[in-house]
């Protein structure tokens, strides 16, 4: 198990190198001149622009700047926001808890819906329960998350007043407030993932329930809960993990929209603002953070795979 973990960690190094390259050069070739923006836009004089360019280090050769960029990554110095002058690292650190809370919330919602739904659908294929689950999940996949978010706000915040419509409360300040603020955005973000995971779990479960070892488990008299929750689930969940990993990536993108709708001060809203401002250092920082989340997710998925499927541990 440790060997598996070590190998996966090593494999993620080249991935991260490639990400830094892409992030750095993509922004390099993007239109718009950040030096001009920093100097005050179209109205700025050529001298002001040149001065801003020097101040930001944009006059140095490309490779030198890439090297500085990598050096910065290791020392935690990701530069400063061109706009506010705030260090990128602290800007991101401020907002990461919000986005991670939202993603964790969305995943929790997804699993809480998908696991029972998938099992119910798989144990009674063709039944009314199965059809209802499949229909709703088809809807969940098709419905864009911002629409779900707006509907949730309309019903649960504006009509019923159970949850706040917008805003965020840090966990340290009030755990209850934090939870309340996250419920609606988590549901809005998690429903699509729930639908996708439920469909995969159903298919995987149907396959597993046909296996001989399930018949053996039933013949042992250990009860239907153990047969489904233990013997079937551990086998059925491995293929679902792949989908779960993919869903995390989709969720990262989803946070951008959801954070806008619910006015959450997370990475998503930071990114949107940075893109409009052509705030390159911030965009780079966010992109690399997102890449890190994806890499860590992939490692977790692989380790979980090894736990679920003992044959993979030796491989």
């Amino acid at each position: 198990m440790l060997r598996l973990l070590a190998r996966r960690l090593l494999m993620s190094v080249p991935i991260l190198v490639i990400v830094t390259l892409v992030v750095f050069f993509l922004l390099e070739i993007a239109p718009g001149d950040p030096a001009r923006r920093a100097a005050g836009g179209e109205m700025a004089s050529a001298a002001d622009v040149a001065e801003a360019r020097r101040r930001l280090g944009l006059d140095e050769p490309l490779w030198t700047r890439y090297w500085h960029f990598i050096e910065g990554l290791f020392t935690g110095d990701l530069g400063q926001s061109i706009f506010s002058g705030q260090p990128v690292l602290s800007a991101i650190a401020e907002r990461v808890p919000v986005s991670l809370s939202l993603m964790a919330g969305a995943l929790t919602v997804a699993m809480l819906i998908a696991v029972p739904a998938g099992i119910i659908a798989a144990t009674r294929p063709g039944s009314i329960a199965d059809r209802v689950v499949m229909l709703i999940s088809a809807g969940g996949v098709a419905m864009p998350n911002f629409l779900i978010g707006l509907l949730l706000v309309l019903v649960f915040a504006l009509q019923l007043g159970i949850f706040p419509a917008t805003g965020y409360v840090p966990f340290e300040q009030s755990p209850a407030g934090w939870f309340q603020a996250l419920v609606l955005p988590s549901v809005a973000l998690g429903v699509a993932a729930a639908a996708e995971i439920a469909r995969f779990l159903r298919a995987s479960m149907l396959d597993v329930l046909d296996q001989d070892y399930i018949r053996t488990a039933r013949a042992k008299g250990i009860g239907v809960r153990s047969v489904l929750g233990k013997h079937a689930m551990k086998n059925a969940f491995a293929p679902v993990l792949t989908v779960l990993g993919l869903q995390v990536r989709i969720l990262i993108g989803g946070t951008v929209v959801i954070e806008q709708i619910f006015n959450l001060p997370g990475l998503g809203s930071l990114t949107v603002k940075a893109v409009f401002d052509r705030d390159y250092p911030i965009i780079q920082g966010v992109a690399i953070s997102a890449a890190l989340v994806v890499v860590v997710t992939n490692i977790l998925v692989d380790v979980a795979y090894g736990y679920l499927n003992p044959k993979l541990r030796a491989a």
Binding site: D212, R215, T216, A219, G221, H231, P310
Partner: protein, 365 residues
């Protein structure tokens, strides 16, 4: 080696009593009856072999004892009593107390019948914990004990191994250990040796036999291999096309079958003294339950079939003396040849791998 001398007349109440058991399976093409009014009993310490080709309904019969057929598409009629208690229609919770405890099952595919995601120790211990309510530790110790019993070497270490780390024969031993873990009164073994190679087959069989004698269990042995039957069974129950065609004590049925299908099955068992000659197989194939022939279900394949006699009415299963039954209307006119129980047993054991070229290995379940 078999307790054939035991008088049947004074036999105690049967342990398992199957009475006019029928199983209907619902498919897209409608409802078909795959098991049709099957009745037989298994006494205490007795081994009964349920014999037939693939598709004869023998596996379905065995699975319905513990309610293992998918409930959505199957309907069971009749009665299955264990120690006088009706098992059909028991609530799942009540049935789970019988499963694995009083009645244990061994399945035919050792490669796929164990869960690949759990260690064998966990898979055995779990059953012990459930039925005996003992601690994890005690259950683990019991798992070591039974693995040791069935001849898995260094059982204590192998406890932590996963099924894929065992060979086919070893996995079947693990299955046997699991079945024995709660000291069942009845073991249902559904073709436990079919997927194994010859030497392992013989080993597993003798192991099963030894364990049975040691613990005094009853065994319901499902097989298509009459060679195995000669070796292990006190009584034999022959199924064809979903119903019984002949029943009786093994030695008598082997020596003088009363149904042409039994004779055909015996003929397709390779004999020790026929080396070099061509193996015989039953012509034609088993009818599907959707398209059973009129009259006797075996008559299209039967060499003795007579027009106007065998293809009109379905013959009933009738007693033919000595506690035997047969479903052949012409049984009185025919002189069917059997094989000596002794030579049959030995010959069949040696030739077990060739057990039945006409009898496809996999069984429809």
């Amino acid at each position: 080696m078999k307790s054939l001398s035991k008088p049947t007349a004074s036999a105690p109440d049967p342990l398992l009593e199957i009475d006019r058991l029928s199983v209907d399976i619902r498919s897209e093409r409608g409802v078909v009856r795959v098991v049709d009014e099957v009745s037989f009993a298994v006494g205490p310490r007795e081994t009964v072999a349920l014999v037939g080709e693939s598709g004869s309904g023998k596996s379905v019969t065995s699975m319905s004892v513990l309610g293992l057929l998918p409930p959505r598409i199957t309907r069971t009629h009749g009665s299955v009593r264990f120690e006088g208690r009706e098992l059909l229609g028991l609530k799942p919770g009540e049935l789970d107390r019988v499963r694995g405890d009083d009645i244990a099952m061994i399945f035919q595919e050792p490669m796929t019948s164990l869960n690949p995601a759990f260690t064998v120790g966990e898979q055995i211990a779990e059953q012990v914990r459930r039925h005996r309510g003992v601690s994890r530790r005690a259950a683990r110790d019991r798992a070591v004990e039974v693995l040791d019993l069935v001849g898995v070497p260094s059982a204590a270490e192998r406890l932590k191994a996963y099924p894929h780390e065992f060979s086919g024969g070893m996995r079947q031993r693990v299955m046997m250990a699991m079945a024995l873990s709660c000291e069942p009164k009845l073991v249902i073994a559904d073709e436990p040796t079919t997927a194994l190679d010859v030497t392992i087959q013989a080993l597993v069989l003798s192991e099963l036999r030894a364990l049975q004698e040691r613990f005094g269990m009853s065994v319901l042995f499902i097989t298509h291999d009459l060679g195995v039957v000669a070796e292990i069974a006190d009584k034999v129950v022959v199924m064809y096309g979903g119903h019984l065609v002949e029943t009786g004590r093994t030695a008598e049925v082997f020596a003088s079958p009363r149904h042409p299908y039994t004779e055909a099955l015996l003929r397709s068992v390779p004999q020790g003294d026929t080396a070099g000659s061509r193996l015989w197989s039953i012509p034609g194939t088993m009818p599907t339950p959707e398209a059973l022939p009129r009259g006797c279900r075996f008559h299209p394949r039967c060499p003795y079939a007579q027009r106007g006699v065998c293809d009109t009415d379905e013959p009933p299963l009738e007693p033919v003396g000595d506690g035997r039954t047969s479903r052949c209307v012409r049984r009185a006119d025919l002189r069917l040849t059997g094989i000596g129980a002794d030579t049959g047993g030995i010959g069949a054991r040696e030739a077990a791998p060739l057990g039945g070229p006409a009898l496809p290995g996999g069984d429809r379940t």
